[in-house]
């Protein structure tokens, strides 16, 4: 009985994974298809955009044409500025606040922490009308800081870093204080080095979020000098502009390229960072 059941089970086990593998590869293909397709279209003449043959000539003309048609270099530079501004601001603001929550006892701490968590759910985008009013009152419409300001105090970042800081053993803390370190010295010399992995994780999540952010930058910018790449791409490649698909694909690839190349190079760190950001 047992001897007869075993080969059948083996066969079933061998069959199931192969069906599984087929499904897996099919799913993977669907998921990679938009990127694969845009690679095909961007690197071939427009005549081949729906015509797939191995003999299709490879060209960089679409990229050159896209760069001629819109100031993508400037848009990418704006995005780089924006990302730097947001990242620097978020790191400072979140680190200080997280340190207060993790290391100090004071009245109203729990309430204050819940107030921070509330921001995690109430997205800045939902408040775009009032935030626009605020930014306008500050005279900041159409500036890089205007795009970044609503995101600087991030409930997500404060929560994440507080969790990391809570794991720092008190002995390390005491040792540094015996050596005469003040609170900020303690933060700088003990807490930040120990939490480096979390800081990197938070940084990566933040960069990929703001690189891809569209709605709020679309609202507060209106000139080439401030528009990030997402808004630039929207204006260039909207369907009513009559731009060819080859140009759309080339410009889309250009807008995604820095992040995409970074991801492919540092994939392991990237994925682990996202995991860390999600779990902790």
């Amino acid at each position: 009985m047992r001897a007869a059941a075993l080969p059948a089970a083996r066969r079933a086990a061998g069959l199931v994974p192969s069906l599984e593998a087929l499904g897996a590869w099919l799913l993977g293909l669907v998921w990679a298809l938009p990127l694969l397709y845009s690679l095909w279209t961007a690197f071939h003449p427009a005549a081949y955009e729906t015509h797939f043959t191995l003999g299709a000539p490879v060209t960089l003309a679409n990229f050159a044409a896209a760069r001629q048609a819109a100031p993508f270099a400037r848009y990418l530079f704006n995005t780089a500025l924006l990302i730097s501004f947001i990242l620097a601001g978020q790191m400072v603001v979140s680190t200080l606040a997280a340190f207060a929550f993790a290391r100090f006892t004071f009245r109203g701490r729990t309430l204050a922490f819940y107030a921070v968590l509330l921001q995690l759910m109430i997205l800045p985008e939902a408040l775009m009308v009032e935030n626009y009013r605020t930014v306008a009152a500050l005279g900041l419409v159409d500036t890089i800081p205007a795009i970044g300001l609503p995101y600087l105090a991030s409930g997500f970042g404060i929560f994440l870093l507080r969790q990391a800081f809570l794991t720092v053993p008190r002995e390390l803390d005491d040792a540094a204080r015996v050596e005469g370190a003040g609170p900020l010295g303690l933060l700088w010399r003990v807490y930040l080095p120990v939490s480096r992995a979390t800081l990197v994780a938070y940084g990566l999540v933040s960069v990929s979020y703001h690189w891809n952010n569209l709605l709020w930058p679309l609202i507060v910018t209106n000139s080439v000098g401030t528009r990030p790449i997402t808004v630039g791409l929207l204006i260039f490649a909207s369907p009513d502009q009559g731009v060819s698909w080859a140009l759309v694909a080339a410009s889309s690839l250009m807008s995604a390229a820095p992040l995409l190349v970074g991801f492919l190079l540092f994939q392991r760190a990237f994925v682990q960072s996202f995991m860390r950001a999600g779990i902790k």
Binding site: E130, R177, N212, V248, L264
Partner: protein, 301 residues
């Protein structure tokens, strides 16, 4: 301030509290300016009329909400948002779990698969929405070409009021599933491998172990992912901006997109404030659900 706190000895509670609030100050100011005050400001603005030229805003009570109740576009957007959430959340979760199980095994090329699944997370929505726009194009788009092989007649996917929301949902699921897969992957790695080995003994037990052991162990992750997916369902409108502008005839209009439209295309800021408040109430409800869930998660540890 370092002078008061520099010593190794015990510090006064007052000095501690002062230092803590100083550390919190930048976050508090920014949160007040860009979250709390605007939230209250929306509530207040929704009770006034929109100023037009020389005519200033005046108090109108609940008129904006009465207008909302009578606004078919609002109901359409709300209904679309609910359908969008109800459709994308379970589908994205199911696919994310399937992806994690597929990639977690020892199948050849799983690294490549994981890359494929995770790619949409790092691609800007605007860039991929352009590509999807092309896929859905009538006749020569990829969807119609593939369906054409099976003999299905071409159709105007994004122009049809019955198909457009489904297309938006497909793009959202494609964008999100790989991101949620990461959380399942992380959770799967905490499950002892001998459970998986037990599951591999034979086909029937495989599914049984999955249903009775793996799935319950993944429950906290599922709850976490579900709440995040739900919040995302009310946030993700980039592809609507790129692909349809809410059309045709508001068939793909979502709540957040409608707020944007009313505020920055029709410039009716008071009505937009009232709509914002509805959105805030929905998000806050989801937020408190998440608080309860997070609380339970921390107690479990």
């Amino acid at each position: 301030m370092t002078a008061a706190l520099g010593g190794a000895g015990p510090r006064g509670a007052g000095a501690q509290a002062l230092m803590a609030w100083l550390l919190l100050l930048p976050a508090a100011v920014l949160l007040a300016a860009f979250t709390y005050v605007p939230a209250l400001g929306s509530a207040l603005a929704s009770l006034y009329s929109t100023p037009h030229g020389a005519r200033p805003a005046r108090f109108v009570g609940l008129d904006n909400y009465a207008a909302m109740a009578a606004d078919p576009v609002f109901w359409r957007a709300l209904q679309n948002s609910v359908v969008y959430a109800a459709g994308t959340v379970p589908l994205a979760i199911g696919l994310a779990l399937a992806m994690a199980l597929l990639v977690n095994g020892s199948a050849p090329g799983r690294g490549l698969l994981r890359t494929a699944f995770f790619l949409p997370t790092v691609l800007p929505m605007i860039a991929v929405a352009n590509i999807w726009l092309f896929f859905f194009t009538q006749d020569y788009g990829l969807v119609d070409q593939l369906l054409g092989l099976a003999g299905v007649p071409p159709r105007n996917w994004l122009g049809g009021p019955h198909t457009v929301l489904g297309c938006m949902m497909a793009v959202a699921v494609w964008k999100e599933a790989g991101f949620f897969m990461i959380f399942y992957l992380a959770a799967l790695q905490t499950i002892p491998p001998n459970l998986r080995e037990a599951a591999a003994i034979d086909g029937d037990r495989r599914f049984y172990v999955f249903r009775r052991v793996t799935l319950p162990l993944l429950m906290p992750t599922t709850v976490f992912v579900a709440v995040n997916a739900l919040i995302n369902a009310f946030r993700l409108v980039d592809h609507v901006i790129v692909m349809t502008n809410g059309g045709p005839d508001n068939a793909s209009n979502l709540l957040l997109y409608y707020v944007y439209e009313v505020a920055f295309k029709f410039w009716d800021t008071s009505y937009a404030a009232a709509l914002t408040l509805v959105l805030l109430v929905i998000l806050a409800t989801l937020a408190f659900t998440q608080f309860a869930v997070l609380d339970r998660r921390t107690h479990c540890r």
